[in-house]
């Protein structure tokens, strides 16, 4: 049974697109058939983070408007054959995205894929509400920072009221994904801790992705971090998160960076 998952946050710049790419790739690496959809009409970026920006021909709006068929608009990942991208349109015509149109695209995708990951735009406007509209589950990406936590709370409220599931009296299963986490700073009381965030948002934790240079490096080269640096701390965090999504019981830890040769040499000399 296909699952529709929205990756959302309210606030911009917290890592929705990066996380969508990493989670999508991690699911595909585990053999699942995955499509990631960019809902950020006018400001698409999932194609860039996935390294498919040169190959975009059609987009979500073309499919909704009937200009292109769904299979023509889907772009297959060059590294994982069971990972696909449906890009957003670069034009500003946001009104072209209709609820009915999205409904039929998602219904169509459900027959072909195991997982449909919807990368939400920031904000609480139309694009964000459409991205979450047909979701079965939601991943709320949060940074350990006051404005991000506040906006996540707002989005959680919307997931409980504005989705089709909520309107039917059903539940959208919600998962919290904390990104850019620095355990050291949290321990020193300089950053909200995981416990603080969980207490405030009262939403089950899916994973903790540590702040890491591997994330920037992955987007620089257009390759999801779970593929580009599979053994890095953020990649392990995303992979653990995906295993939890698939129902596995995985102990919750903050993966730490394994030090390189240079770091170890320098540290030894310093000690």
């Amino acid at each position: 049974m296909a699952k529709v998952l929205v990756v959302t946050s309210g606030k911009g710049g917290v890592g929705k697109t990066t996380s969508t790419a990493a989670l999508g790739a991690a699911l595909a690496q585990m053999g699942q058939n995955v499509v990631v959809i960019d809902f950020d009409v006018g400001l698409r970026n999932l194609d860039l983070v996935m390294g498919a920006e040169r190959r975009v021909v059609f987009d979500l709006i073309n499919v909704v408007q009937g200009v292109a068929k769904l299979p023509q608009a889907l772009i297959r990942d060059k590294r994982l054959e069971n990972l696909w991208l449906l890009p957003a349109s670069q034009t500003r015509d946001k009104d072209a995205l209709t609820e009915e149109g999205i409904k039929s695209v998602i219904a169509d995708l459900k027959t072909k894929f195991d997982w449909i990951l919807c990368d939400s735009p920031a904000g609480i406007e139309r694009g964000a509400t459409l991205a979450m509209r047909y979701a079965d589950e939601a991943i709320i990406v949060t940074n350990p920072e006051v404005s991000s936590v506040r906006d996540s709370d707002r989005i959680i409220g919307m997931l409980d009221s504005k989705t089709v599931r909520a309107e039917r009296g059903e539940r959208v299963e919600k998962h919290l994904l904390v990104t850019r986490y620095d355990a050291g700073r949290a321990a020193r009381g300089e950053m909200l801790s995981i416990d603080d965030i969980l207490e405030i948002l009262a939403t089950p934790l899916l994973g903790i992705v540590p702040e890491s240079q591997d994330v920037l490096r992955a987007s620089n080269v257009g390759c999801p971090v779970t593929l580009n640096a599979a053994s890095s701390a953020p990649a392990r965090a995303y992979t653990d998160a995906v295993r939890r999504l698939m129902g596995e019981a995985v102990e919750m830890t903050v993966p730490v960076q394994r030090k390189g040769l240079m770091d170890r040499l320098l540290r030894r000399r310093a000690a």
């Binding site: 860039l48 920006e53 040169r54 975009v56 021909v57 059609f58 023509q72 620089n220 240079m262």
Partner: protein, 93 residues
């Protein structure tokens, strides 16, 4: 020194890759102000010419693009059934 660092770090710098990818992407996007870009125009005109002569099944058309730094590739695969119907062409004249 940078190379020595890379040797020990075991990784090449990724920023130059990011820079090049952005340059290629933006050079295509900036030219597009309002009007559809060349590849897009070519694609739709090729399809309209072909569909004057045969009934093109949209499901049997594969369009691929690869936007490069110096040249771009447009690949249009159109499945033409044997015993092509020419009725459309007659109707058009």
């Amino acid at each position: 020194m940078m190379n020595v660092m890379r040797l020990f770090g075991g990784r090449a710098a990724s920023a130059p890759v990011a820079r090049e990818r952005l340059q290629i992407l933006l050079s295509h996007e900036r030219g597009r102000t309002g009007a559809p870009d060349l590849l897009e125009t070519l694609r739709s005109e090729i399809l309209s010419v072909v569909s004057k002569h045969i009934d093109v099944d949209p499901d049997k058309v594969v369009v691929r693009m690869d936007r490069g730094k110096f040249v771009s590739m447009l690949e249009v695969d159109i499945e033409v059934p044997n015993g092509v119907q020419r009725s459309k062409m007659v109707a058009a004249t």
